[in-house]
Symmetry: C2
Subunit: 561 residues, 2 copies
């Protein structure tokens, strides 16, 4: 197995007749999936998603792939293929289209519909090209075949990309539920056919590569949900992802079976389920839906609310219910179902919601105490099937953190993929497929691009570092007015502290020190503002450290009068 060398340099020119592959996101992380293929001077992009920030990115709304690598080649892009409608695969498309509006978007019916609904909110009308499994499209030099895959959202696709450099199979996100609710199986025969033809490179979903065995069928969840419905004392509240059409369908079915009305709560839930219903992916029995305004008129034991917030998002309806900060007041008679996986990083938030709901006496049913969710990603057992039927000459594990990519690479080796053909790449690593062999040839920038309020890419690591310091230690600002000629202090020093855990009464002491230092400085004829700022910074920094063992940000402001 070839590991990425930390010290990779700029890549050489793309090889004549070869295929260049660069992931701008999704390798070494779960999120912002985006892969750029280059052949014959033309580009093809698969997926363009967002990554959700963690506590290390305070205040950040979204994290995008860095488009710099393709920025001055936007016109070379034949198309962006979206494998399915999850945010980590389509969420960055509005930002890419800002740079070139008419990039053709290729995807399945539901995927494009969800994307168009999102783009409408950005006031963008895209150029789209709808495909269905089994279809082929020639996108410039890229001959693309689309295959059905089963995932936690309907209508997901895998893509086989044929060029003169060989055949690449990109699975997208998938699992292999053998009894899917919509009967749409992952196209294993198709994978086998490609295997027979000869897969030169397999790029496959690594999310659950560490998990042994096979997924439980979505079918097994229905009865559990139904049982919870039957035993629920009064009101039912189900939280799940706003894109999980099948899960919502199960809730609707259970509602019908148990004579309950259903109310969708939350903008994204209402929007997505509207789309899914329109396109026939969600079957909504007549007269079962009720509007939030009507809730008071319906007895709790005749009602089920379907909302988001299953990841503990602080602003979500569910979190607010848990904090008694919502018109819906949780009681001992309520039952809450968290029908979703727990995305790593959200453990605290979800735990807080479960404790909050429990505090008010609600019965909380979740993954850990009932089978109310199954993962959307293939575990090791299923990944072996795909490796064995495709028999790839080369393998690049995708869609995973390091631990997942490595675990998947091990599986590939076990199925007989030659070691020299197994390439573990991370974001920005350039992989060339030439003469049937995939090799790492360099790296390009693939850092985080932060969306923060209205600004995109303007928040730097530096200001995040500032935020971390401010968030941990607070700041102390010192304002001094200096006479421009004499260099004497004519105003202040005024000291303000926020978040530093220092009380104003304590400042007299440090103010005296500052005045002393400035008097000396003036005596020595120091009147350079920067020098004076440095003196103040050092004086106050030392004082805080000595008296509080703290390191707040010290902000001296010296104004000339």
């Amino acid at each position: 197995m070839s590991h990425p060398h930390p010290e990779l340099s700029d890549p050489p020119e793309p090889p004549e007749g070869g295929l260049r592959i660069v992931a701008l996101g999704g390798l070494g992380e779960i999120g912002r999936n985006m892969t750029v293929f280059e052949h014959g001077g033309r580009l093809l992009v698969i997926d363009c998603g967002v990554l959700f920030p963690e506590t290390e990115q305070p205040g950040i709304d979204l994290i995008l792939p860095d488009f710099e690598y393709i920025r001055d080649r936007l016109d070379d892009i034949e198309a962006v293929i979206l494998t399915h409608g999850h945010e980590d695969h389509i969420g960055a498309v509005p930002y890419l289209l800002r740079e070139r509006r008419d990039i053709p978007l290729v995807g399945s019916k539901l995927t494009l519909a969800l994307l168009e609904a999102k783009l409408a909110e950005h006031r963008i009308k895209p150029v789209t090209d709808m495909v269905v499994e089994g279809e082929r499209r020639s996108l410039g030099p890229f001959d693309c075949e689309f295959l059905a895959v089963n995932h936690s959202i309907p209508d997901a696709l895998a893509v086989a990309v044929r060029t003169s450099a060989g055949l690449v199979l990109h699975t997208g996100d998938f699992k292999m539920d053998q009894l899917p609710l919509d009967g749409r199986l992952t196209d294993l025969p198709g994978f086998a056919r490609l295997g027979a033809e000869g897969v030169d490179l397999l790029m496959s979903d690594s999310t659950n590569a560490e998990v042994p065995g096979f997924v439980t069928s979505e079918r097994n969840i229905g009865p559990v949900v139904d049982e919870v419905f039957r035993t629920a004392q009064e009101r039912l509240i189900v939280a799940c992802f706003a894109s999980h059409v099948h899960r919502v369908q199960q809730v609707l079915d259970a509602a019908v079976a148990n004579g309950r009305k259903v109310c969708f709560v939350g903008r994204s839930m209402v929007r997505n389920m509207g789309v899914a219903r329109e396109l026939g992916y969600l079957d909504v029995p007549d007269g079962i839906m009720v509007d939030q305004k009507e809730l008071d008129d319906i007895p709790g034991d005749r009602l089920v609310l379907v909302c988001t917030g299953s990841q503990g998002e602080p602003m979500s309806a569910l979190s607010r219910m848990a904090n008694r900060d919502h018109s819906i007041r949780i009681t001992e008679r309520d039952t809450v179902i968290l029908a979703s996986s727990l995305i790593p990083g959200n453990e605290n938030a979800v735990n807080r919601v479960i404790n909050g709901l429990t505090r008010w006496g609600a019965r909380v049913v979740h993954k850990a105490n009932a089978l109310v969710h199954v993962s959307g990603h293939a575990p090791a057992g299923e990944l072996l099937y795909v490796l064995n039927v495709t028999k790839p000459a080369n393998f690049v594990p995708i869609h995973g953190e390091w631990r997942h990519l490595r675990a998947h690479a091990k599986l590939a080796a076990l199925t007989g993929v030659p070691e020299e053909g197994i390439v573990i790449a991370e974001d920005g690593v350039v992989v060339d497929l030439v003469d049937g062999r995939a090799k790492i040839v360099g790296a390009v920038p693939a850092g985080y691009v932060y969306v923060d309020g209205l600004s995109v890419g303007e928040v730097t690591e530096t200001s995040l570092k500032d935020r971390r310091i401010l968030g941990e230690e607070g700041f102390v600002s010192i304002v001094v007015g200096i006479d421009s000629t004499s260099g004497k202090v004519v105003a202040g020093p005024e000291v303000h502290a926020r978040g530093a855990g220092i009380v104003n009464e304590d400042f007299e002491e440090v103010i005296e020190r500052i005045e002393g230092v400035l008097r000396e400085a003036a005596g020595d004829g120091v009147n350079d503002l920067h020098q004076i700022s440095q003196l103040i910074r050092r004086t106050v920094g030392k004082w805080v450290s000595d008296n509080y063992r703290r390191r707040p940000m010290i902000v001296p402001v010296v104004v000339e009068v």
Copy 2:
């Protein structure tokens, strides 16, 4: 089951001849365990621990129980009983002794030794009273009997407290490993004897009340660790809690069996294992230990490092190894064992460490892929045993978050504890045991007391809120010098922003706005500094919100010249 009413008021005077119980920590949270018993005007305290901060408490080092409830009654304290030597049970003792040095500390040999080592670092020589299981002590009106319990640290105790109000059994932290490594079983016969005598109130560890079944014996871990040792390519690194004597013993045994030398890394690990060895709790074969200085002279396949950092603590040796920021450089030939549980809240940090180690090619063995750890707390199956043999008339679940307390209360109900005797209390809730019945009678303050650098209790929720705002949004400060008489601007406005994602070039626009506003104000004869500050705050706040959709902290500083 009686639930705490959110609107509890001050408690009445303690009932004549009754027993009052107030938990100042540990109920509704896992950490800072501390319970105060009051009878006949005297106080008995069981445990005095710390809680470790989460991301909601930025910059905080430790969280203590609020001693306010007992502050002016320190002389009434007969003793503080420490059930075992974990930080969440002994960590706050140094801070309590600051308020009264000579409070007698009662505990087992190892518990007191670990506590004394910690107190020595605070330069405190405590008054101690060592007890062993089976002993009884009359501490004022409290007749205390100590019983052995099995936990993830040796020498842990449960306490039976007898007063004229009845018999209370406080289990401390425990599990019921039936084949413990040290042969020291949880004293179930003793619990049964108390049950026969009549337990008026049981207070029992709820940590794993949601987990069905029984713990796996520590014995089953030895062979797994041994197997990892035998298959390790070269260097071995084992991370575990610095207090888990038995786990470290297993590592030492495996090292001997596999001809490896052992090196302890990290201050707390070296200190605690020194204590454990001295007292004979840790059996260290001659010549097996090596010093960190000698590491380079020993081939990797002859070596095992034992360190802390199993919770992903950023400053720990393990985290620094994962970041290649440590003299020990991780390679493909290293094997790392995380031999500890994952404390809720540390998921991200631990995941980062696993990914970091994996990135450099290390084999990482942890709870999720091998049996290298078992919990120290009794799951539901074992809790039922305790409830059934003690047959308590009243039950208060302790040591757990809401979800755990409720799950434990349900178990109690299943074993036949009368509903009216099951009391779910949270920190500060006052429970009186009178005439054989436990009842909630009020509440006292039991908020967080923050240790932050050298300051204890000075960091308020307000400054934490400031930190959260600063950490999420940064700040913008505006300095203006005003002529005291004319009210005219004579210096500035100078605008500085940190962490707000605003670049200095943008400030010209807002500076003009401020100048405009101030000109107007001066025209209207406004010269009140506070008013002027407010004008600036509003002007800048609106500008930032309009242009950036952000809400940084706005800090206007108006100085009179």
